[in-house]
Symmetry: C2
């Protein structure tokens, strides 16, 4: 490839991604949806202006790592600890139920050859794609409705944070099995060792960053060395422990999230993320979506996958809330607030594609789930709050 | 290459680049010097931790395009026009004299086979590397001395801006000849056509951006679409006109430099530049520097190249200032202020390497010139101002 072709490819992706992203926002869908559609539009599926290339794939991979690092930086460890047993239970069931439901769906549709077989791993992986909640849209909707700081809003937010961590753990264990020769004890041992390593090194690195932050607050070295730490953790996770690179990046973010300047780092790297790496990643999902294999059977599967995806979160999270003595109305709100899926589902799916646990033919189903949940979540939440207003909306809770 | 290796490579480059950059700054050298040395240090020359790869080369190329776009955005067209005939003459002679001196140096050392031959083009290209002044260090030095807004300072700043544009024109014409079958009229025609195209399209694109800036000031779409415009211009320059991609990127920046939000765009993209693309570019220079071919003869050549590089600017710019009735002392200050070289010399050298007009063996000479001029310029300026103080330092000029 002549090197200047990459400039054209990037330019097309950026323009298409931005305009379709803005269009999506106008239609009250997340911008991400537009950026994925941009990849579908300019890629081999439709206009064929941009072909997938090694360079774009590598930029996309860097984009995912940046996104996960940002997600880690944005987390609040204290809040996760404070949020207590209810949020933990909601999150736990919100991961387990979709995981089982997704696995079951694959088993019913394609059959599995027994525990540990390749088809079993693929089934588990499909379940894994269903585990990650994306609350950005829910948060936006609750804020607009004035219910973000209510009991339901707080529970959803806390559960979503724990959900992120649990999702990462599940993903880590499952991708650990990509090599059929590895035993389950090896994978679990490697995973545990990685988390021990991440926490130990993380503790030391955090001390170094804290001292640097104290002596040189708001300087360029913070985002640059933060990024280097994230990349190194991504490398170490994969190369030394066989753990997904995005797990390493997320843990790096989590380690630095307690830093005084963590939001400074996040804002700086977020700019690189949204100006170039993010759009390339989301477009690359569209670029690599295989619509040639799309047929009626996959369409039906996608619709069933969509229903299973939404209901499993509503049942898992809402049911748990009901058991924790939330009113039926509030329980439903918790369930609906947690059913939204976003970039993490895509990141997981992309990871599955890379390690050979997922077929590109499933991408339309994942994309459909993201688009549909993004549109349905705010609409249903609005209806639910109209039918059953919460007792203490933000305005009445005082300061 | 396993994809996670790129994370490790990037992490090593970022850490080494940042720390050597900080060390360089402590020694009053530009950070860029440290970043280049980082590439030498971690690359095959010394530690061999990072090997050159396609991905790094492409990231570096993106980095150069971003740097040149930023340089264009940072320009002030009005100032270029206002600065008048003196600055124009200083800049013009400051380009022509080093160009001839560099060409002559190559001819004396390696001989040339006549006008238009391959060796003639290589000689011209070596001259081309000597044309671009980098005033960042001079500006910093003059600011510290309190003489930035004096007659000498204003002349240097204006001349440096014009010097940038002239350097780009020279580079464009010379790289146009990379294909030996092209005739000189074709290259000049293509170059002229490209600038006509850039100004026409630039005018239209500027209108679009101005309207967008008015309706959506300080929004993400500005840097994203600005970057897309830059990349598209880089592509069009190379693919359609055979003009260097960096010329396209610089012109894109120049077009958008009159935008109200031009500094908003520049600051956003500068962050991507300094956190990741810039360090990779400068390190890649070190990575691709071939020290195995380094020997006494190249060392002698490098020293001669250094002297020719510094003197040609002092004679070209200082001599012109003298002819324009500056005092001998002030003329010398102008000459010394213009002798500093920086990233553009490297960008041009890298371009020469890519199109086959420059040998990697010359890189040590270019790097030595940048390092030495970066150290000498502020020191000599300080001495000159002590010996012959300017009549109107900043403090006395009033407001």
């Amino acid at each position: 490839m002549e090197s200047f072709v990459m400039f054209r490819d990037l330019a097309i992706i950026l323009v298409a991604g931005k305009y379709l992203g803005l269009l999506a926002r106008k239609l009250n869908a997340p911008q991400v949806a537009g950026e994925i559609l941009a990849g579908l539009l300019v890629g081999p599926c439709l206009l064929n202006l941009v072909q997938p290339s090694d360079f774009l794939a590598q930029m996309a991979e860097l984009g995912v790592v940046l996104l996960m690092f940002g997600a880690g930086l944005d987390s609040n460890i204290d809040e996760i600890i404070k949020s207590g047993p209810v949020a933990l239970m909601v999150a736990l069931c919100g991961v387990v139920v979709p995981l089982l439901a997704g696995t079951g769906l694959y088993a019913v549709y394609y059959g599995i050859d027994g525990v540990g077989s390749d088809s079993f791993m693929r089934a588990l992986f499909l379940g894994c794609v269903l585990t990650a909640t994306s609350v950005t849209i829910t948060v936006q909707a609750l804020r607009e409705l004035g219910h973000l700081k209510g009991k339901v809003g707080t529970t959803i937010l806390s559960a979503a944070i724990i959900d992120d961590v649990l999702g990462i753990v599940v993903l880590t264990v499952i991708t650990g099995f990509k090599d059929p020769s590895t035993s389950i004890t090896d994978v679990i041992l490697d995973t545990v060792l990685f988390f021990v390593f991440a926490l130990t090194v993380g503790f030391l690195v955090f001390q170094l960053f804290e001292r640097m932050d104290l002596r040189h607050p708001h300087t360029r070295r913070l985002p640059i060395l933060g990024l280097a730490f994230c990349l190194m953790m991504a490398y170490i996770a994969e190369a030394l422990f066989g753990v997904a690179d995005i797990t390493g990046a997320y843990m790096a973010g989590l380690v630095l999230s307690k830093l005084k300047d963590s939001s400074y780092i996040e804002r700086r790297l977020d700019i690189s993320s949204y100006t170039i790496f993010g759009p390339v990643f989301f477009a690359s999902v569209g670029l690599s979506t295989d619509v040639s294999a799309f047929n009626a059977s996959i369409l039906v599967f996608s619709l069933v996958f969509l229903v299973v995806g939404l209901l499993s979160k509503i049942i898992g999270c809402g049911g748990t809330a009901l058991l924790c003595r939330f009113t039926p109305g509030d329980s439903l709100k918790v369930g609906v607030g947690m059913m939204n899926r976003g970039e993490v589902a895509l990141i997981v799916a992309q990871k599955g594609l890379a390690v050979g646990l997922m077929n590109a033919a499933f991408f339309p189903a994942v994309i459909m789930l993201i688009l549909a949940s993004a549109i349905l979540t705010p609409v249903i939440l609005q209806v639910l709050y109209k039918l059953q207003p919460e007792e203490h909306p933000d305005g009445l809770m005082g300061k």
